[in-house]
Amino acid sequence: MPELGKYADTVILAYVVSLALIFGLVALTWVQNRRAKRLLNAQEANHGK
Amino acid sequence: MLALFTRDLKLAFRSGGGFGLALAFFLIVVMFVPFGVGSDLVLLARIAPGILWIGALLACLLSLDRIFQLDYEDGTLDVLATSPLPLTGITAAKAAAHWVTTGLPLTLAAVPLGYLLNLPQPAYIWLFASLAIGTPALSFIGAFGAAITVGIKRGGLLLSLLVLPLYIPTLIFGALSVTKSVEGLNPLPSLTLLAGLTLFSIVLMPFASAMALKSNLKG
Protein backbone atom coordinates (compact mmCIF):
# COMPACT_ATOMS: atom_id res chain seq x y z
CA MET A 1 0.00 0.00 0.00
CA PRO A 2 1.47 3.36 -0.93
CA GLU A 3 1.56 6.21 1.55
CA LEU A 4 -1.47 8.30 0.74
CA GLY A 5 -1.14 10.84 3.49
CA LYS A 6 -4.08 12.90 4.64
CA TYR A 7 -5.95 12.32 1.38
CA ALA A 8 -6.12 8.54 1.75
CA ASP A 9 -9.90 8.54 2.11
CA THR A 10 -10.40 10.67 -0.95
CA VAL A 11 -8.18 8.67 -3.24
CA ILE A 12 -9.46 5.31 -2.10
CA LEU A 13 -13.06 6.43 -2.34
CA ALA A 14 -12.51 7.68 -5.87
CA TYR A 15 -10.94 4.39 -6.93
CA VAL A 16 -13.58 2.30 -5.21
CA VAL A 17 -16.47 4.23 -6.73
CA SER A 18 -14.99 4.08 -10.20
CA LEU A 19 -14.11 0.43 -10.05
CA ALA A 20 -17.53 -0.37 -8.68
CA LEU A 21 -19.17 1.44 -11.59
CA ILE A 22 -16.91 -0.27 -14.12
CA PHE A 23 -17.50 -3.70 -12.64
CA GLY A 24 -21.19 -3.00 -12.40
CA LEU A 25 -21.33 -2.19 -16.09
CA VAL A 26 -19.22 -5.18 -17.04
CA ALA A 27 -21.38 -7.48 -14.94
CA LEU A 28 -24.55 -6.03 -16.43
CA THR A 29 -23.21 -6.42 -19.92
CA TRP A 30 -22.22 -9.99 -19.20
CA VAL A 31 -25.56 -10.93 -17.67
CA GLN A 32 -27.51 -9.35 -20.50
CA ASN A 33 -25.33 -11.09 -23.05
CA ARG A 34 -25.85 -14.46 -21.43
CA ARG A 35 -29.58 -13.92 -21.17
CA ALA A 36 -29.78 -12.93 -24.83
CA LYS A 37 -27.78 -16.00 -25.81
CA ARG A 38 -30.08 -18.25 -23.85
CA LEU A 39 -33.19 -16.62 -25.27
CA LEU A 40 -31.88 -16.92 -28.79
CA ASN A 41 -30.94 -20.57 -28.32
CA ALA A 42 -34.42 -21.29 -27.04
CA GLN A 43 -35.97 -19.51 -30.01
CA GLU A 44 -33.72 -21.27 -32.50
CA ALA A 45 -34.70 -24.59 -30.95
CA ASN A 46 -38.40 -23.72 -31.11
CA HIS A 47 -38.72 -21.97 -34.41
CA GLY A 48 -35.45 -22.52 -36.24
CA LYS A 49 -35.57 -24.07 -39.62
CA MET B 1 -58.91 -2.50 -6.22
CA LEU B 2 -55.65 -4.34 -5.92
CA ALA B 3 -56.02 -5.38 -9.55
CA LEU B 4 -56.35 -1.75 -10.51
CA PHE B 5 -53.42 -0.68 -8.37
CA THR B 6 -51.07 -3.29 -9.79
CA ARG B 7 -52.24 -2.66 -13.32
CA ASP B 8 -51.51 1.04 -12.94
CA LEU B 9 -48.03 0.25 -11.67
CA LYS B 10 -47.50 -2.14 -14.57
CA LEU B 11 -48.62 0.49 -17.09
CA ALA B 12 -46.31 3.06 -15.53
CA PHE B 13 -43.38 0.70 -15.90
CA ARG B 14 -44.31 -0.32 -19.42
CA SER B 15 -44.80 2.98 -21.07
CA GLY B 16 -41.20 3.97 -21.35
CA GLY B 17 -40.44 3.77 -17.65
CA GLY B 18 -42.84 6.20 -16.07
CA PHE B 19 -40.96 5.48 -12.89
CA GLY B 20 -37.76 7.17 -13.89
CA LEU B 21 -39.22 10.09 -15.71
CA ALA B 22 -40.68 12.18 -12.93
CA LEU B 23 -37.31 11.76 -11.35
CA ALA B 24 -35.47 12.94 -14.42
CA PHE B 25 -37.75 15.95 -14.63
CA PHE B 26 -37.02 16.78 -11.01
CA LEU B 27 -33.29 16.51 -11.65
CA ILE B 28 -33.51 18.87 -14.57
CA VAL B 29 -35.65 21.48 -12.88
CA VAL B 30 -33.16 21.56 -10.05
CA MET B 31 -30.31 21.82 -12.56
CA PHE B 32 -32.02 24.74 -14.24
CA VAL B 33 -32.04 26.91 -11.17
CA PRO B 34 -28.33 27.71 -11.20
CA PHE B 35 -28.52 28.47 -14.91
CA GLY B 36 -31.27 30.89 -14.19
CA VAL B 37 -30.20 32.55 -10.95
CA GLY B 38 -26.45 32.10 -11.17
CA SER B 39 -24.03 29.76 -9.48
CA ASP B 40 -23.41 31.58 -6.22
CA LEU B 41 -23.37 28.80 -3.63
CA VAL B 42 -24.50 30.93 -0.73
CA LEU B 43 -27.49 32.15 -2.65
CA LEU B 44 -28.29 28.62 -3.81
CA ALA B 45 -28.14 27.32 -0.26
CA ARG B 46 -30.68 29.90 0.81
CA ILE B 47 -33.22 29.03 -1.82
CA ALA B 48 -32.50 25.29 -1.86
CA PRO B 49 -35.36 24.10 0.40
CA GLY B 50 -37.93 26.06 -1.55
CA ILE B 51 -36.59 25.05 -4.92
CA LEU B 52 -36.44 21.38 -4.01
CA TRP B 53 -40.02 21.40 -2.81
CA ILE B 54 -41.23 23.34 -5.83
CA GLY B 55 -39.32 20.99 -8.12
CA ALA B 56 -40.84 17.90 -6.56
CA LEU B 57 -44.25 19.49 -6.74
CA LEU B 58 -43.92 20.32 -10.42
CA ALA B 59 -42.62 16.87 -11.28
CA CYS B 60 -45.63 15.45 -9.52
CA LEU B 61 -47.94 17.87 -11.26
CA LEU B 62 -46.69 16.92 -14.71
CA SER B 63 -47.65 13.32 -14.25
CA LEU B 64 -51.14 13.93 -12.89
CA ASP B 65 -52.94 13.74 -16.21
CA ARG B 66 -51.84 10.13 -16.45
CA ILE B 67 -54.13 9.22 -13.60
CA PHE B 68 -57.48 9.20 -15.40
CA GLN B 69 -57.12 10.65 -18.86
CA LEU B 70 -55.99 7.58 -20.76
CA ASP B 71 -58.53 5.35 -19.09
CA TYR B 72 -61.13 7.85 -20.10
CA GLU B 73 -60.00 8.11 -23.68
CA ASP B 74 -60.00 4.42 -24.43
CA GLY B 75 -63.30 3.80 -22.69
CA THR B 76 -61.88 1.93 -19.71
CA LEU B 77 -63.22 4.46 -17.24
CA ASP B 78 -66.80 3.96 -18.48
CA VAL B 79 -66.43 0.26 -17.91
CA LEU B 80 -64.78 0.67 -14.53
CA ALA B 81 -67.62 2.92 -13.43
CA THR B 82 -70.11 0.16 -14.17
CA SER B 83 -67.90 -2.49 -12.54
CA PRO B 84 -68.17 -3.79 -8.98
CA LEU B 85 -65.45 -1.42 -7.77
CA PRO B 86 -66.76 1.65 -5.97
CA LEU B 87 -65.62 4.91 -7.56
CA THR B 88 -64.04 6.02 -4.30
CA GLY B 89 -61.94 2.91 -4.26
CA ILE B 90 -60.96 3.43 -7.88
CA THR B 91 -59.73 6.95 -7.26
CA ALA B 92 -57.90 5.93 -4.11
CA ALA B 93 -56.16 3.02 -5.83
CA LYS B 94 -55.13 5.24 -8.70
CA ALA B 95 -53.85 8.00 -6.43
CA ALA B 96 -51.85 5.44 -4.46
CA ALA B 97 -50.34 4.02 -7.63
CA HIS B 98 -49.44 7.54 -8.66
CA TRP B 99 -47.64 8.11 -5.38
CA VAL B 100 -45.64 4.93 -5.70
CA THR B 101 -44.51 5.82 -9.19
CA THR B 102 -43.90 9.49 -8.53
CA GLY B 103 -43.83 10.72 -4.95
CA LEU B 104 -41.74 7.87 -3.66
CA PRO B 105 -38.89 8.12 -6.20
CA LEU B 106 -38.91 11.91 -5.84
CA THR B 107 -38.47 11.61 -2.11
CA LEU B 108 -35.54 9.27 -2.54
CA ALA B 109 -33.88 11.47 -5.16
CA ALA B 110 -34.24 14.72 -3.26
CA VAL B 111 -31.31 14.11 -0.94
CA PRO B 112 -28.57 13.88 -3.61
CA LEU B 113 -30.16 16.75 -5.48
CA GLY B 114 -30.03 18.77 -2.30
CA TYR B 115 -26.29 18.53 -2.55
CA LEU B 116 -26.25 20.11 -5.98
CA LEU B 117 -27.95 23.13 -4.49
CA ASN B 118 -25.59 23.19 -1.54
CA LEU B 119 -28.33 22.47 0.99
CA PRO B 120 -26.83 22.76 4.49
CA GLN B 121 -26.00 19.56 6.34
CA PRO B 122 -28.64 19.27 9.08
CA ALA B 123 -31.49 19.84 6.65
CA TYR B 124 -31.21 16.57 4.72
CA ILE B 125 -33.10 14.42 7.14
CA TRP B 126 -35.91 16.99 7.30
CA LEU B 127 -36.00 17.32 3.56
CA PHE B 128 -36.44 13.59 3.30
CA ALA B 129 -39.03 13.42 6.06
CA SER B 130 -41.07 16.33 4.77
CA LEU B 131 -41.21 14.88 1.27
CA ALA B 132 -42.03 11.40 2.50
CA ILE B 133 -44.87 12.80 4.56
CA GLY B 134 -46.01 15.46 2.11
CA THR B 135 -45.96 13.80 -1.30
CA PRO B 136 -48.95 11.50 -0.65
CA ALA B 137 -51.01 14.66 -0.19
CA LEU B 138 -49.78 15.84 -3.58
CA SER B 139 -50.94 12.61 -5.22
CA PHE B 140 -54.36 12.55 -3.60
CA ILE B 141 -55.08 16.21 -4.17
CA GLY B 142 -53.75 15.84 -7.69
CA ALA B 143 -56.03 12.90 -8.37
CA PHE B 144 -58.93 15.15 -7.49
CA GLY B 145 -57.78 17.69 -10.04
CA ALA B 146 -57.34 14.93 -12.59
CA ALA B 147 -60.85 13.69 -11.91
CA ILE B 148 -62.30 17.13 -12.44
CA THR B 149 -60.56 17.70 -15.75
CA VAL B 150 -60.90 14.19 -17.11
CA GLY B 151 -63.29 14.91 -19.95
CA ILE B 152 -61.33 17.82 -21.29
CA LYS B 153 -59.09 17.40 -24.30
CA ARG B 154 -55.66 18.83 -23.59
CA GLY B 155 -56.76 19.43 -20.04
CA GLY B 156 -53.14 19.31 -18.87
CA LEU B 157 -52.72 22.99 -18.30
CA LEU B 158 -56.15 23.51 -16.86
CA LEU B 159 -55.38 20.70 -14.48
CA SER B 160 -52.22 22.47 -13.36
CA LEU B 161 -54.14 25.61 -12.88
CA LEU B 162 -56.76 23.96 -10.69
CA VAL B 163 -54.33 21.95 -8.67
CA LEU B 164 -51.63 24.50 -8.01
CA PRO B 165 -53.65 26.59 -5.56
CA LEU B 166 -54.65 23.42 -3.76
CA TYR B 167 -50.98 22.59 -3.36
CA ILE B 168 -50.12 25.84 -1.62
CA PRO B 169 -50.62 24.69 1.99
CA THR B 170 -48.65 21.53 1.37
CA LEU B 171 -45.84 23.54 -0.18
CA ILE B 172 -45.78 26.06 2.64
CA PHE B 173 -45.62 23.52 5.45
CA GLY B 174 -43.22 21.29 3.56
CA ALA B 175 -40.75 23.96 2.58
CA LEU B 176 -41.07 25.67 5.95
CA SER B 177 -40.06 22.58 7.87
CA VAL B 178 -36.88 22.33 5.82
CA THR B 179 -36.12 26.06 6.05
CA LYS B 180 -36.63 25.98 9.81
CA SER B 181 -34.18 23.16 10.16
CA VAL B 182 -31.65 25.11 8.09
CA GLU B 183 -32.05 28.09 10.38
CA GLY B 184 -31.61 25.90 13.43
CA LEU B 185 -35.23 26.27 14.50
CA ASN B 186 -37.67 23.52 15.33
CA PRO B 187 -39.13 21.98 12.15
CA LEU B 188 -41.56 19.74 14.00
CA PRO B 189 -44.61 22.05 14.13
CA SER B 190 -44.71 22.49 10.36
CA LEU B 191 -44.08 18.81 9.89
CA THR B 192 -46.99 17.91 12.13
CA LEU B 193 -49.29 20.22 10.23
CA LEU B 194 -48.03 18.65 7.01
CA ALA B 195 -48.84 15.19 8.33
CA GLY B 196 -52.32 16.37 9.25
CA LEU B 197 -52.83 17.71 5.77
CA THR B 198 -51.75 14.45 4.21
CA LEU B 199 -54.03 12.42 6.43
CA PHE B 200 -56.89 14.71 5.58
CA SER B 201 -56.22 14.39 1.85
CA ILE B 202 -55.93 10.63 1.93
CA VAL B 203 -59.13 10.20 3.84
CA LEU B 204 -61.34 12.77 2.17
CA MET B 205 -60.09 13.53 -1.32
CA PRO B 206 -61.13 10.17 -2.81
CA PHE B 207 -64.77 11.03 -2.08
CA ALA B 208 -64.49 14.38 -3.80
CA SER B 209 -62.69 12.76 -6.71
CA ALA B 210 -65.35 10.10 -7.03
CA MET B 211 -68.05 12.76 -7.17
CA ALA B 212 -66.17 14.66 -9.84
CA LEU B 213 -65.62 11.51 -11.89
CA LYS B 214 -69.21 10.51 -11.65
CA SER B 215 -70.47 13.77 -12.99
CA ASN B 216 -67.85 13.81 -15.73
CA LEU B 217 -68.95 10.40 -16.94
CA LYS B 218 -72.59 11.41 -16.97
CA GLY B 219 -71.87 14.34 -19.29
Binding site: Y7, A8, T10, S18 | G17, L27, M31
Partner: protein, 240 residues
Protein backbone atom coordinates in the same frame (compact mmCIF):
# COMPACT_ATOMS: atom_id res chain seq x y z
CA UNK C 1 -13.85 -5.59 -49.65
CA UNK C 2 -15.02 -2.69 -47.63
CA UNK C 3 -15.86 -1.81 -44.11
CA UNK C 4 -19.55 -1.93 -44.98
CA UNK C 5 -19.36 -5.71 -45.16
CA UNK C 6 -19.47 -5.77 -41.42
CA UNK C 7 -22.86 -4.17 -41.52
CA UNK C 8 -24.05 -7.70 -42.07
CA UNK C 9 -24.87 -9.38 -38.75
CA UNK C 10 -23.31 -12.69 -39.66
CA UNK C 11 -20.01 -11.12 -40.65
CA UNK C 12 -20.08 -8.84 -37.66
CA UNK C 13 -20.74 -11.68 -35.26
CA UNK C 14 -17.98 -13.75 -36.79
CA UNK C 15 -15.41 -10.98 -36.72
CA UNK C 16 -16.17 -9.75 -33.24
CA UNK C 17 -16.42 -13.30 -32.01
CA UNK C 18 -12.85 -13.82 -33.08
CA UNK C 19 -11.58 -10.48 -31.86
CA UNK C 20 -13.22 -10.45 -28.47
CA UNK C 21 -10.94 -12.87 -26.61
CA UNK C 22 -7.91 -10.81 -27.52
CA UNK C 23 -9.68 -7.57 -26.77
CA UNK C 24 -10.72 -8.80 -23.36
CA UNK C 25 -7.20 -9.77 -22.42
CA UNK C 26 -5.75 -6.58 -23.79
CA UNK C 27 -8.31 -4.48 -21.99
CA UNK C 28 -7.78 -6.23 -18.69
CA UNK C 29 -4.00 -5.96 -18.94
CA UNK C 30 -3.78 -2.32 -19.94
CA UNK C 31 -6.50 -1.14 -17.60
CA UNK C 32 -5.10 -3.08 -14.67
CA UNK C 33 -1.51 -2.03 -15.20
CA UNK C 34 -2.49 1.56 -15.88
CA UNK C 35 -4.55 1.81 -12.75
CA UNK C 36 -2.22 -0.20 -10.52
CA UNK C 37 0.81 1.68 -11.73
CA UNK C 38 -1.00 4.92 -11.26
CA UNK C 39 -2.17 4.00 -7.80
CA UNK C 40 0.99 2.37 -6.44
CA UNK C 41 3.81 3.59 -8.58
CA UNK C 42 3.50 7.35 -8.80
CA UNK C 43 4.77 10.08 -6.46
CA UNK C 44 2.56 12.63 -4.76
CA UNK C 45 2.12 16.03 -6.29
CA UNK C 46 3.67 18.89 -4.32
CA UNK C 47 0.41 20.75 -4.28
CA UNK C 48 -2.34 18.18 -4.61
CA UNK C 49 -0.73 15.45 -2.53
CA UNK C 50 -1.85 11.92 -3.24
CA UNK C 51 -5.12 13.08 -4.80
CA UNK C 52 -3.30 13.47 -8.05
CA UNK C 53 -3.63 9.69 -8.41
CA UNK C 54 -7.27 10.21 -9.23
CA UNK C 55 -6.19 11.59 -12.56
CA UNK C 56 -5.60 8.07 -13.88
CA UNK C 57 -9.25 7.35 -13.75
CA UNK C 58 -10.78 10.78 -13.97
CA UNK C 59 -9.21 12.02 -17.16
CA UNK C 60 -9.51 8.90 -19.32
CA UNK C 61 -13.09 8.37 -18.18
CA UNK C 62 -13.97 11.98 -18.96
CA UNK C 63 -12.36 11.85 -22.37
CA UNK C 64 -13.99 8.56 -23.28
CA UNK C 65 -17.37 9.80 -22.07
CA UNK C 66 -17.26 12.52 -24.67
CA UNK C 67 -15.78 10.21 -27.30
CA UNK C 68 -18.57 7.71 -26.74
CA UNK C 69 -21.17 10.32 -27.59
CA UNK C 70 -19.18 11.22 -30.66
CA UNK C 71 -19.08 7.58 -31.71
CA UNK C 72 -22.84 7.41 -31.24
CA UNK C 73 -23.21 10.46 -33.44
CA UNK C 74 -21.19 8.85 -36.20
CA UNK C 75 -23.00 5.52 -36.07
CA UNK C 76 -26.35 7.32 -35.90
CA UNK C 77 -25.55 9.22 -39.05
CA UNK C 78 -24.51 5.99 -40.74
CA UNK C 79 -27.87 4.50 -39.82
CA UNK C 80 -29.74 7.51 -41.12
CA UNK C 81 -27.84 7.57 -44.37
CA UNK C 82 -27.06 3.95 -45.18
CA UNK C 83 -29.53 2.16 -42.93
CA UNK C 84 -27.17 -0.45 -41.59
CA UNK C 85 -28.86 -2.02 -38.61
CA UNK C 86 -25.59 -2.88 -36.90
CA UNK C 87 -24.70 0.77 -36.87
CA UNK C 88 -27.88 1.74 -35.04
CA UNK C 89 -27.42 -1.12 -32.61
CA UNK C 90 -23.84 -0.08 -31.91
CA UNK C 91 -25.09 3.37 -30.98
CA UNK C 92 -27.70 1.83 -28.72
CA UNK C 93 -25.03 -0.38 -27.17
CA UNK C 94 -22.67 2.51 -26.54
CA UNK C 95 -25.12 4.71 -24.63
CA UNK C 96 -25.06 2.94 -21.26
CA UNK C 97 -21.29 2.75 -21.43
CA UNK C 98 -21.08 6.44 -22.16
CA UNK C 99 -23.40 7.15 -19.26
CA UNK C 100 -21.30 5.06 -16.91
CA UNK C 101 -18.11 6.81 -18.00
CA UNK C 102 -19.81 10.15 -17.48
CA UNK C 103 -20.84 9.10 -14.01
CA UNK C 104 -17.28 7.95 -13.27
CA UNK C 105 -15.88 11.28 -14.39
CA UNK C 106 -18.50 13.11 -12.33
CA UNK C 107 -17.95 10.88 -9.31
CA UNK C 108 -14.17 11.04 -9.26
CA UNK C 109 -14.27 14.75 -10.01
CA UNK C 110 -16.69 15.35 -7.18
CA UNK C 111 -14.61 13.33 -4.76
CA UNK C 112 -11.50 15.15 -5.89
CA UNK C 113 -13.21 18.46 -5.55
CA UNK C 114 -13.82 18.03 -1.83
CA UNK C 115 -10.15 18.35 -0.79
CA UNK C 116 -9.16 20.69 -3.62
CA UNK C 117 -12.02 23.17 -3.71
CA UNK C 118 -13.68 22.36 -0.41
CA UNK C 119 -16.90 21.09 -1.92
CA UNK C 120 -18.14 18.07 -3.78
CA UNK C 121 -20.02 20.15 -6.21
CA UNK C 122 -19.70 23.59 -7.68
CA UNK C 123 -21.35 24.99 -10.74
CA UNK C 124 -18.15 25.09 -12.68
CA UNK C 125 -18.63 25.00 -16.48
CA UNK C 126 -16.68 21.80 -16.98
CA UNK C 127 -18.59 19.97 -14.28
CA UNK C 128 -21.86 21.45 -15.39
CA UNK C 129 -21.40 20.40 -18.96
CA UNK C 130 -20.76 16.88 -17.79
CA UNK C 131 -23.98 16.93 -15.86
CA UNK C 132 -25.69 18.03 -19.05
CA UNK C 133 -23.99 15.24 -20.96
CA UNK C 134 -25.37 12.76 -18.44
CA UNK C 135 -28.86 14.12 -19.05
CA UNK C 136 -28.42 13.72 -22.79
CA UNK C 137 -27.41 10.11 -22.26
CA UNK C 138 -30.43 9.55 -20.03
CA UNK C 139 -32.82 11.01 -22.58
CA UNK C 140 -31.28 8.96 -25.36
CA UNK C 141 -31.57 5.73 -23.40
CA UNK C 142 -35.11 6.54 -22.30
CA UNK C 143 -36.14 7.15 -25.90
CA UNK C 144 -34.81 3.75 -27.01
CA UNK C 145 -36.83 2.18 -24.22
CA UNK C 146 -40.02 4.05 -24.98
CA UNK C 147 -40.42 3.36 -28.69
CA UNK C 148 -41.73 -0.06 -29.55
CA UNK C 149 -40.95 -0.40 -33.23
CA UNK C 150 -37.25 -1.10 -33.72
CA UNK C 151 -36.63 0.86 -36.86
CA UNK C 152 -38.63 3.81 -35.65
CA UNK C 153 -36.66 3.77 -32.42
CA UNK C 154 -33.41 3.71 -34.37
CA UNK C 155 -34.56 6.63 -36.51
CA UNK C 156 -35.76 8.72 -33.62
CA UNK C 157 -32.75 8.13 -31.40
CA UNK C 158 -30.45 8.92 -34.31
CA UNK C 159 -32.23 12.17 -34.98
CA UNK C 160 -32.12 12.98 -31.29
CA UNK C 161 -28.40 12.21 -31.18
CA UNK C 162 -27.81 14.50 -34.11
CA UNK C 163 -29.80 17.40 -32.75
CA UNK C 164 -28.55 16.67 -29.23
CA UNK C 165 -24.95 16.92 -30.37
CA UNK C 166 -25.52 20.39 -31.74
CA UNK C 167 -27.19 21.50 -28.55
CA UNK C 168 -24.64 19.80 -26.31
CA UNK C 169 -22.02 21.81 -28.12
CA UNK C 170 -24.03 25.01 -27.76
CA UNK C 171 -24.56 24.27 -24.08
CA UNK C 172 -20.84 23.84 -23.55
CA UNK C 173 -20.30 27.25 -25.06
CA UNK C 174 -23.18 28.79 -23.17
CA UNK C 175 -22.02 27.38 -19.88
CA UNK C 176 -18.57 28.85 -20.39
CA UNK C 177 -20.13 32.14 -21.16
CA UNK C 178 -22.22 31.91 -18.03
CA UNK C 179 -19.55 31.15 -15.50
CA UNK C 180 -15.78 31.16 -15.32
CA UNK C 181 -14.78 28.09 -13.44
CA UNK C 182 -12.41 26.45 -11.04
CA UNK C 183 -11.44 23.49 -13.18
CA UNK C 184 -8.01 23.27 -14.72
CA UNK C 185 -7.63 23.35 -18.46
CA UNK C 186 -6.07 20.77 -20.71
CA UNK C 187 -2.72 19.70 -19.36
CA UNK C 188 -1.52 17.17 -21.89
CA UNK C 189 -1.21 19.76 -24.60
CA UNK C 190 1.78 18.63 -26.62
CA UNK C 191 3.65 21.84 -27.19
CA UNK C 192 2.87 23.61 -24.00
CA UNK C 193 5.43 24.35 -21.42
CA UNK C 194 3.44 23.44 -18.40
CA UNK C 195 2.43 19.83 -18.88
CA UNK C 196 2.07 16.80 -16.73
CA UNK C 197 5.23 15.45 -15.21
CA UNK C 198 6.84 12.42 -16.87
CA UNK C 199 6.25 10.35 -13.80
CA UNK C 200 2.52 10.55 -14.49
CA UNK C 201 2.45 10.46 -18.24
CA UNK C 202 3.15 6.77 -18.89
CA UNK C 203 0.63 5.28 -16.51
CA UNK C 204 -1.80 7.90 -17.74
CA UNK C 205 -1.35 6.76 -21.33
CA UNK C 206 -1.76 3.14 -20.30
CA UNK C 207 -4.89 4.00 -18.49
CA UNK C 208 -6.16 5.90 -21.51
CA UNK C 209 -5.56 2.83 -23.62
CA UNK C 210 -7.31 0.72 -21.01
CA UNK C 211 -10.43 2.88 -21.01
CA UNK C 212 -10.45 3.01 -24.77
CA UNK C 213 -10.18 -0.75 -25.07
CA UNK C 214 -12.79 -1.20 -22.36
CA UNK C 215 -15.15 0.93 -24.37
CA UNK C 216 -14.52 -0.96 -27.59
CA UNK C 217 -14.87 -4.35 -25.93
CA UNK C 218 -18.08 -3.44 -24.19
CA UNK C 219 -19.55 -1.93 -27.34
CA UNK C 220 -18.80 -5.13 -29.19
CA UNK C 221 -20.31 -7.34 -26.53
CA UNK C 222 -23.39 -5.18 -26.14
CA UNK C 223 -23.90 -4.93 -29.87
CA UNK C 224 -23.73 -8.71 -30.05
CA UNK C 225 -26.35 -8.88 -27.32
CA UNK C 226 -28.61 -6.55 -29.26
CA UNK C 227 -28.14 -8.54 -32.45
CA UNK C 228 -29.09 -11.75 -30.69
CA UNK C 229 -32.17 -10.12 -29.21
CA UNK C 230 -33.19 -8.89 -32.64
CA UNK C 231 -32.77 -12.31 -34.11
CA UNK C 232 -34.73 -13.89 -31.30
CA UNK C 233 -37.53 -11.38 -31.78
CA UNK C 234 -37.54 -11.95 -35.54
CA UNK C 235 -37.69 -15.69 -35.06
CA UNK C 236 -40.57 -15.34 -32.66
CA UNK C 237 -42.43 -13.00 -34.97
CA UNK C 238 -42.01 -15.44 -37.82
CA UNK C 239 -43.60 -18.21 -35.80
CA UNK C 240 -46.71 -16.28 -34.82
Amino acid sequence: MSLWEYANPVKFMRLTGRLLPFLCVLTAVSLATGIIWGFFGTPDDYKQGSTVKIIFIHVPAATMAVSAWFMMLVTSLIWLIRRHHISALAAKAAAPIGLTLTLIALGTGAIWGKPMWGTYWAWDPRLTSFLILAVFYLGYIALWKAVEDNDTAADLTSILCMVGSVFAFLSRYAVNFWNQGLHQGASIAVNKEQHVDNAYIYPLFLSFAGFFLLFVTLVFVRTRTEIRLRRAAALQARSL
